[in-house]
Symmetry: C2
Amino acid sequence: MSAKYLEDFAAGQIYRTACLRVAAEDIKAFAAQFDPQPFHIDEAAAQATLFGGLAASGWHTAALTMRLSVASEFAPAGGIIGAGFEELRWPLPVRPGDELCVEFEVLEVRPSKSRPGQGLLKMRMTTRNQDGKAVQVAVGTLVVPRRPG
Amino acid sequence: MSAKYLEDFAAGQIYRTACLRVAAEDIKAFAAQFDPQPFHIDEAAAQATLFGGLAASGWHTAALTMRLSVASEFAPAGGIIGAGFEELRWPLPVRPGDELCVEFEVLEVRPSKSRPGQGLLKMRMTTRNQDGKAVQVAVGTLVVPRRPG
């Protein structure tokens, strides 16, 4: 896989990451450190909540999405650097045993007005479970270098 | 601290969390697991990147913001359950040694039309460093139960 510059991207391109399985232990370990709420750390307590059972923290899903993205062939030169998101939502909970994969869709490519060496890539990143259902939808802008010279 | 229902919130209310210090080791440990890019895992390699030195993954900042929020007196009944965000950005990098605190501002309170027992709380969550500068701004909607009976 070779690093890509702004000029290598075009609206409509699709990239797909590998997939990874989320174990109950992963859900509880992340939550113990960052989001210790009953529905993320304890199967029994989670039954009585809005989730009706153990579910991953949305921030865990976001972090796993990043991990899959960094290891993928999407690979902009300079790394995956988010300028910000205009949409981030979790349509369905991530459950123990779910297998997640991410799809990147390039929505817009534009050179930066203020920084001649850079450009901005507007992307939709959809994280899906093993049933193909979206568990996270993120629309955001990445900073990508222009090809030198 | 007592759990709060939709009726306890009003636009304009401000809540503040405790603060926590982010060590270089924390930054590297999170990144090794979820965002292994040079600017998040290696001081020397980070020098040559856009960040010019070690910086926390934005998802680490988001996860730490959640940890501070869960431990705070904000405490909606049923927990902090995000329906989604319409803005999430990182205006400045988080550096080793930074001390982060979060401020919640209630922007809007509205009962759900489809679910009579619930309501939605639109919030701006601003994570600041020890200089009072914003390192993360998140505007999103939380699901909060209405007071029973």
